[in-house]
């Protein structure tokens, strides 16, 4: 097993729990040099470090694909689950049902999510499973060498040069329609925006989608691909510049009112949006879809937080399961005992 040397620089900055950034890292990546997915892994590492999450309380899950390999490259102290193609959402759902107290981060690709796993993605969203669902969206299948995925824009051409003839699925738009309480879009090359997006998503209770455009340098980084670095850089439109601010008086007071929009997260944290477009109301599903469609028509990609609804109940709350993790219940709490059984038997005589 390749293990990193446990060398710690004494002056590495520590977070509130005393962990350094190193404590959130994983194994060395085996992805192609320059793959957008590695930037997202790094953003996840930074987000978790900055949020001071206890690494072992995070469970990271994925499907199959280059993107789904990445959980090996971050949070080495967390349990990971590299499942099968497209089935991460159901595995995450079950895991969450077993222990509601952990933090669940699911990583998937656009092939993994928008094709084989579309059914599970949709249903995880509509059940509002409390997890952060990160799509590393490169518009193509990386691991199987470059086929178009269902998020590839119509007309966009991958390395093989043929323009994609089919309509693209916009995962953010779908998630908004399905009632997801947190929907955001980022770009792997824009960490300043991505890290706070991921932080906010993790803090959100319920299903949060972060769809990250993540160019595949090997198969889909041609100038004619709408998921290439150049194309995205040239066509990006941010909803807002914002920062994630934990609810602490000394920080929140620093923020001025004005064009800003603050969104309270369920755990009390605030997302502070610097809106570039005053008419865009992130709490409105309709506005989110309008905006997505508007920029799509203009040939632009809207990034940032697209929709937030902190009032939604998550799956456990909807189903009214007990507050303690189900996996911690003992026979005493689970087994109704022989007397009850004999009572039941009497009913079948």
């Amino acid at each position: 097993m390749s293990r990193r040397p446990v060398f710690r620089h004494p002056n590495l900055p520590k977070n509130d729990l005393g962990y350094t950034r190193r404590d959130y890292e994983g194994l060395d990546s085996t992805l192609c040099a320059g793959c957008g997915h590695d930037s997202i892994s790094n953003a996840i590492i930074r987000a978790c470090f900055e949020l001071s999450l206890p690494p072992h309380r995070v469970a990271k899950l994925s499907g199959i694909g280059c993107s789904s390999k990445t959980p090996a490259y971050f949070l080495g102290k967390s349990h990971g689950f590299n499942s099968v193609h497209g089935r991460m959402p159901s595995i995450a759902t079950g895991a969450n049902m077993a222990n509601r107290d952990l933090i669940y981060i699911g990583v998937s690709g656009d092939g993994d999510t928008a094709s084989i796993g579309m059914g599970q993605f949709i249903h995880a969203a509509r059940r509002n499973i409390n997890m952060t669902y990160i799509v590393m969206n490169n518009g193509c299948y990386g691991l199987t060498k470059g086929q178009d995925s269902a998020t590839a824009d119509r007309g966009s051409a991958s390395r093989k040069g043929l323009p994609n003839p089919f309509e693209a699925i916009d995962l953010c738009e779908s998630a908004v329609q399905l009632g997801a309480g947190f929907v955001a879009r980022g770009f792997s090359g824009d960490k300043a925006q991505l890290v706070p997006l991921i932080k906010a998503a993790i803090r959100h209770k319920g299903f949060s989608l972060v769809d990250v455009i993540s160019p595949c340098v090997t198969f889909n980084n041609t100038p004619s691909s709408t998921k290439s670095y150049h194309w995205v850089r040239d066509h990006m439109e941010a909803t807002a510049t914002f920062d994630f601010i934990p609810m602490r008086p000394e920080i929140t007071t620093e923020y001025e009112e004005g064009d800003d929009q603050s969104v309270a997260m369920h755990d009390g944290g605030l997302i502070h949006l610097h809106k570039s477009d005053n008419s865009f109301e992130v709490t409105s599903r309709r506005a989110a879809i309008d905006a997505l469609e508007h920029y799509r028509e203009k040939g632009q990609i809207l990034t940032g937080i697209l929709h937030v609804n902190e009032a939604l109940k998550d799956t456990h709350e909807i189903m009214e399961t007990t507050k303690v993790p189900l996996n911690s219940l003992t026979a005493k709490e689970l087994c109704p005992g022989n007397d009850t059984l004999q009572g039941i038997m009497a009913g079948y005589r």
Partner: protein
Amino acid sequence: MNKLTSVNDFVVRFANINGSGSASANNLFAKAVFRLGVPVSPKNIFPSNIQGLPTWYEVRINEQGFLGRRGGYDFVVAVNGQTLKQDYDHLRPGGYFFYDDTRSLPEEFNRRDITVIPMPLTGLANREIENPKLRSLLKNIIYVGALAALFDMDFSVFTDSITKQFSKKPKLAAPNIKALELGYNYASTHFDGICGLCVARSDKLTDHILMDGNTATALGAVYGGATVAGWYPITPSTSVVESFDRLTRRMRLDEEGNRRAAVIQAEDELAALGIAVGAGWNGARAFTATSGPGVSLMNELLGLAYFTEIPVVLVDVQRTGPSTGMPTRTQQSDILSCAYASHGDTKHVLLFPQDPKECFEMGALSFDLAESLQTPVMLVSDLDLGMNDHVCEPFEWDDARSYQRGKVLDEAQLDALDRDWGRYLDSDGDGVCYRTYPGTHPEKGAYFTRGSSHDEYAAYTEDNAAYKRCMERLERKWETAKTMVPEPDISINDEGAGSGMIFYGTTAHAATEAVALLESRGTPLNTMRITSFPFADSVAEFIRCHDRVFVAEQNRDGQMRTLLINELGGRPGISPDKLISIAHMDGTPPDAVSICDAVTQKMKGGAA
């Protein structure tokens, strides 16, 4: 004409129309027989639709306790015009044809070897039952009342059943009792002494219960401590999780009234098993229930769970294939697809219950096995067991019993560990490794669960030797499983018998009776009921000790026979030609007479 005469040994068949409310009336009749202490076995033979097609309900009454199907019927309640001729023609000579003579029988109904019992059911119902909405439902209750008189049954058992059934809605009890009385009084006055069949009170049943296998399985899951169920509706398994849901809502609430169970109706079977696997990985006792088509869809994740060693329970209630082939008919045709489900070198632990008591016990046991062995365990039942009521012994639960959670390291154990920990290290040499739940320890015990090949420390590797080591250890674990699964149930009826019979699951009922029939004809057979897979050594031993062994089962290809040959065929004394398939596969439960005949024929033919 010789009328059939019998006390407590005959078969009644009800011919109805699906959706006409006959099921509860027919059930009332079967329950009355049961409450009179007489062994009874009702079987619902129904089509795959909601309303309008023919449905039959067959009740075997047998004081000796043989509760498989016997073959043939002695009394038919013919209230379905669509099948009238068929029901008439198939009645045994000397039998009784009870029908609604509001319309008279056509001329070609002219058998002289049966007794016809005409009763104006519709006429009576229309005349006597004021509420038009209840009329057609209560028409069924009227014939049940008539049967009480025809079979000379204690009428109070029926009225007591109704009172009990409607204890919460007493207003509904009165019209039902009235309908029962209508039928009873009409039959008493018009058909006195006409019928030679009788149900007399017996002491054969003491504290027995009458329950369906799916409810029993659900109870097994409740008592076995299951907390997470992911499922997708499919006949005949649907009521497993529906019952689990209902039972846990009643019996598993915390102090604040919140549920100590999570039941998720998934979007498909892939997700259903995914939910169970995710929960199993995270330390909950989790299960799913499905049937053959669902098992197909679950194959990919079953292989992953096997290879990554995640405990999970799958209840497979078998039915006739394919997708909607004869989905409401019974078979044992998922044996091979369950045993070797998925890709690569996989094999799975299977349990074969024969009655509701075993559904309960194996249902609970399956969670212990899954966690002890860290692997999927399948409880393989069938439609007949799952959806029909069966008489069986009452269930018991030992309150001192604790759950076998298997090799799981908690925080303190991880701290105390002086040796190196690796998720897939075989420290005990039994093939079963130590696992940790996510979130246990800040520094120790985290690992990566992956389908891709891994070494003993769960690290990704494509090293050939490491892969081979892993697969060999899984084989070692399989050997361990052999020592943990239930032993076969072997019956040596004759030490000198050269022939034996193997069966499993619900085939046991008809097969046991067939063996008794054969014995009475001078052909003693030893029997072995297989209760689990992997096969214990005693399974091989039984085959070795006999010159030929019949394998009775409910599928065309002799799937259990194939499994036996595949797993044991290379051993001394176990040649494939020793194992003779007795296959039954028409979608109905097998009957004793045809198994007996098939054995006799194969013996004559010298098949060996």
